[in-house]
């Protein structure tokens, strides 16, 4: 084990952490918003839209993440060019990676949100209507908070998954944690050392995220029976 290499490389790999987090956080925010919208469309069985969402989810979940990245990186600029005439090749690769990760998060999270929304019994929605609340008020104040508490353990898994997923952005040339470590390892063939560093960093990020989600889960789930905690 080359400890000198580790000492030198560690700060540089750490410097790439913000790139990883930027991709993960942006893809998560956009993906989960899309996921919620799709879940609502499917739960309310909105014609056409509901079927389109189901097809989208099935399609995205059937494609390996790497392929999704390649399609986003190579095909999206062509599509944009032929549709609008705008040359999108100068857009940094990270945005194509974020687009692919967003689609992935949207598909997987919509299933999580759909199950969570279904877990809130319809009776509460009817009760909200019966006191004169609008559907939006009922969703915002009664249904969504409960659904979120149910969804959180799975969302936590999705978020940690996407952090690891960002490592694939390496293939389209985004210098996040994995790509940076590889780059530093190549001249001296210090691959083992580089992967030890990346492993530790990913583990640490995952650990912190799991903790944050867990405490959010406890806060949002206060209303549940103590035995189910």
């Amino acid at each position: 084990m080359n400890f000198d290499f580790i000492r030198e490389a560690l700060p540089q790999v750490l410097a790439a952490v913000p790139v990883t987090l930027e991709m993960a956080v942006l893809a998560t925010i956009a993906g989960w918003i899309l996921g919620i919208l799709m879940a609502v469309a499917r739960r309310n069985k909105i014609p056409v839209l509901s079927q389109l969402c189901a097809a989208f989810v099935s399609f995205i979940r059937g494609v390996p993440m790497v392929i999704l990245l390649y399609v986003s990186y190579y095909a999206l600029p062509m599509i944009i060019y032929s549709a609008t005439g705008i040359d999108a090749t100068s857009v940094p690769a990270i945005w194509y990676a974020i687009a692919a990760l967003t689609l992935d998060q949207a598909a997987y999270s919509s299933e999580v949100f759909r199950a969570a929304l279904n877990s809130v019994n319809r009776g509460q929605l009817e009760a909200a209507w019966s006191v004169g609340m609008t559907t939006w008020q009922a969703m915002r104040r009664i249904v969504f908070p409960q659904a979120l508490a149910v969804a959180l353990p799975n969302l936590s898994g999705l978020f940690v998954g996407i952090i690891k997923g960002t490592s694939l952005a390496y293939y389209v040339g985004v210098y996040e944690i994995t790509a940076t470590a590889n780059l530093l390892a190549t001249p001296g063939l210090n691959f083992i050392e580089a992967y030890v560093i990346t492993t530790l960093i990913y583990e640490l990020i995952s650990f912190i995220c799991n903790r944050l989600f867990r405490s959010a889960e406890i806060r949002l789930g206060r209303f549940r029976p103590k035995t189910a905690a």
Binding site: A127, S130, V131, R141, F223
Partner: protein
């Protein structure tokens, strides 16, 4: 006239549930609706606040009339803001404390400032005997306590009419009494109430009018003694015989409600 239903018809798929129901209810009346399961009594109640909109007919509460065939969203909202409902399964908001449950309508619908809403809600909960439970979540309460909170949530909005949908059917037998006592106390304040129930004794004691429904129509109606003691229609007579002494009728199993509480108490001899 407080509530007026005209020619309400409703079907679920090919199943005709309400076959043209007309009903007029005066201010301060306590109307109890009885009938076997599948008679349409709960559906009738739910057409009043459009949780199940009728296919035909019209609903009037106070001076607000809504046509079932062409109702707009604001129309329905108006109607719902003049009524309140107490549900068989309580349907309390699980993510809110008992106090927040009662405050919810006051704050979001009636736009009362929070401190005002809170004070009114505390008084209402005290009235239904839950002064020790303000900050409990529904999951920490017994069925009877949850249902009394549900009653407080309905009552606090000062609706023109309160709709009770089998309010004691899901309760353990020993908890039925406390809820019926609470409802009786409210009835004495003069608020208009429509109660769908199987509690004959309660109907006798509290109702100003009893309605017997079967097969989506009102079979007969009148004072408690007219309907419960001297029913004229053979269908009412048969129903009362079955419900007061199920063991006398081999078909009693058809009469049960599919609620957990009743399921337990019905012998499974069929």
């Amino acid at each position: 006239m407080m509530v007026s239903l005209k020619n309400i018809r409703k079907s679920f798929g090919s199943q005709q549930v309400l076959n043209g129901v007309d009903l007029e209810i005066d201010v301060g009346e306590v109307v109890v609706i009885l009938g076997p399961s599948g008679s349409g009594k709960t559906t009738l109640l739910r057409t009043i606040n459009f949780l199940d909109p009728g296919d035909e007919g019209s609903v009037t509460v106070g001076n607000h009339t809504v046509n079932c065939k062409k109702h707009s969203r604001p129309d329905v909202l108006q109607l719902r803001r003049r009524t309140a409902m107490v549900f068989q399964n309580y349907n309390l908001f699980a993510n809110k404390t008992i106090l927040e449950n009662v405050m919810e309508g006051l704050v979001t619908v009636k736009r009362r400032p929070k401190p005002v809403a809170e004070e009114i809600s505390r008084k209402m909960l005290t009235r239904v005997g839950l002064s020790e439970r303000f900050d409990y979540y529904p999951s920490a309460l017994s069925g009877g306590q949850q249902q009394r909170a549900g009653i407080a949530r309905a009552l606090v909005l000062e609706p023109d009419v309160i709709l009770f949908d089998e309010p004691t059917s899901a309760l353990d037998p020993e908890l039925v009494g406390e809820v019926l006592q609470t409802i009786k106390g409210i009835a004495e304040t003069g608020i208009t109430m429509i109660v769908v129930t199987h509690e004959i004794a309660f109907a006798k004691e509290v109702a100003s009018r009893v309605i017997y429904m079967q097969d989506g129509v009102i079979v007969e109606q009148g004072s408690p003694s007219e309907i419960l003691v001297h029913p004229k229609d053979p269908r009412t007579q048969r129903f009362l015989r079955r419900i007061t002494d199920p063991s006398q009728d081999p078909k009693h199993i058809d009469m049960r409600e599919d609620s957990p509480a009743n399921e337990k108490s019905v012998p499974t001899s069929a």
